[in-house]
Amino acid sequence: MNPHEESDEERVLLEVRDLKTWFDVEGRTAKAVDGVSFRIRENEVFGLVGESGSGKSVTSLSILRLIPDPPGRIVGGEILFRGKDLLKLSWSEMRKIRGNRISMIFQEPMTALNPVFTIGFQLTEALRRHAGMSKEQARDRAAEMLELVGIPDGGRRLKNFPHQFSGGMRQRAMIAMALSLEPDLLIADEPTTALDVTIQAQILELMLEVRKKTGNSSILLITHDLAVVAETCRRVAVMYGGKIQEIADVGPLFRAPLHPYTRGLLLSLPRPDKEKPPRLSTIPGIVPSILDMPKGCKFATRCPERTERCDLEEPELREIEPGRYCRCHLVEPLPVGERKGGGE
């Protein structure tokens, strides 16, 4: 990993600050995302990992303001995209950003593509709307994009409907669509979870490759799969219970995770490349209900290192060393680059 020399400030593309997205569920409030902050720099592949219910998908939908309201609402925070707060934009301003400056790839390409329109129609729609291309220009560009994502004979393929494509091809078409306008940010929400492992490898490689050939978009990769993060991302944030628990460059995070949750997750993965332990290490218990989160640290109920303080007081996300953040009472910041710690 190459250390980043430039100052963070100049290169930040997206900054999420203290984002809170809550849902009303049967008269109670589910704090799906509860104070999430992170930054994505220009030209960076940033991973957001977490298990089901951790809030990772809600975070990504909040960035594009696609949270269905009701029952959901963004109750606080800022989402600064090139310094502009997306939460303050009008709908028409927001529409100019979606699909144009920020685009998204979803997990299930069959449901993300409209089955009654041709691939060509869906690929050219954004080009015509956002880039003001003529029908012919848009069609040429769409055909070119299909070839770029490895679908040969793109011109003819534009006439196909989504059901005529295989799962892997549909996801390729989605990537073509998402990158055709050379967005600044591509949000990929579990883009390969529905695919087979050999197709997954192709698609991830393709995403990184096509990004380089188009506009060097930054990528926010949302996934539950730590191995996928290790192979594609430069920085990663680990979510649990609606909060970010740890942020670090991929190398240090996997080499020496700081948060007990991150450590537990990594240890519970079977490692075929290593000596086989007789038993896998596990994280005891289950994820607490989103309606009934512990008062203190969200992970305290399952943490092997929990202390009394963890039950009572929620830790802050603190910078432990430059570029490395952790939300745990037991992990103290290094004296250099000091920040306000919590007690002791």
């Binding site: 990993m1 298990e51 089901s52 295989s166 892997g168 091809m169 087979d196 492992v197 050999t198 197709i199 997954q200 490898a201 192709q202 490689e205 539950h224 799969d225 730590l226 191995a227 996928v228 993060v229 290790a230 192979e231 991929v250 190398g251 996997f254 080499r255 537990g264 997750l265 990594l266 519970s268 993965l269 079977p270 490692r271 075929p272 490349d273 086989k276 038993r279 896998l280 290490s281 596990t282 994280i283 289950i286 994820v287």
Partner: protein, 328 residues
């Protein structure tokens, strides 16, 4: 080496495709197309492959949930007799189902939401051991729930009150109710979160040790399969392409498909110095029109014209390790 509990010989399951005005038979999907393998007593055989390779069909065929097109399924009963399940009638199959049970992938759809967990776990007993009294049955259910890490009190609760991992535990308790010897587990952990996945894998391994269970473990996640299995079988388009001890197949794969599959598995270690990934061209052909000869030849990096001629046989490449590729 322990003796085989289950032996498949040239097993074939073909699904007919009907079409046209009179729904004539217009083709067939060769989902399992001549698979021979054995599962030894007390071992876990991992069956891996990508979608459409026939692994789920094979599992269902062993349970006789499908019509068998050809071949035999030799199963060693509790009393030591060997029976060919492929030739049994439904009635004859019924007592054997107590000895072969299944664990399903989706812990949400495989449990009846209107039944209490106790009723769910007890159901196989009402079918296979109707002579059991109420008290004995409740005792067995309580014992089973404890064995899978739940509490006897939870017998009165309903599936929606349980998390995914706990539901999978209920499914495992149900499958153990009739004291089976062979468990067919089809993707038992792929719907679970990582931290829960490890709990269920450990549980399955503990139960195997305690009860001497034999598993046919069907999954697409190679890291999980490598961990739990003693031996691994790799399928591609209805055929077995490689088959051998887990560590051996993982570390010294022979078939070009196994090699490509393993090189595509992502590993959670950014510092790992991995050899260049083998890129497979194209996608899996439709099982409706399988390529002639070797099913993998259309995507194989080392294919030769001769590969189109006949389906390659499994050859022993090292002790107990077989691969179906004459060029490897």
């Amino acid at each position: 080496m322990s003796r085989p509990l289950l032996e498949l010989k040239d097993l074939k399951v073909h699904y007919p495709i009907h079409g046209g005005v009179f729904l004539k038979r217009i083709g067939e999907v060769k989902a399992v197309d001549g698979v021979s393998l054995e599962i030894r007593e007390g071992e876990t055989l991992g069956l891996v492959g990508e979608s459409g390779c026939g692994k789920t069909t094979l599992g269902k065929a062993v349970m006789r949930l499908l019509k068998i097109t050809g071949g035999s399924i030799l199963f060693r009963r509790k009393d030591g007799t060997v029976q060919d399940l492929a030739r049994l009638s439904r009635g004859e199959m019924r007592p054997i189902r107590a000895e072969i049970q299944m664990i399903y992938q989706d812990p949400y759809s495989s449990l009846n939401p209107r039944w209490s967990v106790g009723d769910i776990v007890a159901e196989p007993l009402t079918v296979h051991e109707p002579e059991l009294g109420l008290k004995e049955r409740d005792d067995r259910v309580a014992w089973l729930l404890e064995k899978v890490g739940l509490t006897p009190e939870q017998a009165f609760r309903y599936p929606h009150e349980f998390s995914g991992g706990q539901r999978q535990r209920v499914g495992i308790a149900r499958s153990l109710a009739t004291r089976p010897r062979l468990l067919v587990a089809d993707e038992p952990v792929s719907a679970l979160d990582v931290s829960i996945q490890a709990q269920v894998i450990n549980l399955m391994m503990d139960l195997q040790e305690e009860f001497g269970l034999t598993y046919l473990f069907i999954a697409h996640d190679l890291s999980v399969v490598e961990h739990i299995s003693h031996r691994i079988a790799v399928m591609y388009l209805g055929n077995l392409v490689e088959y051998g001890p887990a560590g051996e197949v993982y570390r010294n794969p022979v078939h070009p498909y196994t090699k490509a599959l393993l090189s595509a598995v992502p590993l959670p270690d950014p510092d790992l110095d991995r050899p260049e990934r083998i890129r497979l061209e194209g996608e899996i052909p439709s099982p409706l029109n399988k390529p002639s000869g070797c099913p993998f030849r259309t995507r194989c990096p080392i294919a030769k014209p001769s590969c189109a001629e006949e389906v390659p046989a499994l050859l022993e490449v090292s002790t107990d390790h077989f691969a179906a590729c004459p060029l490897a």
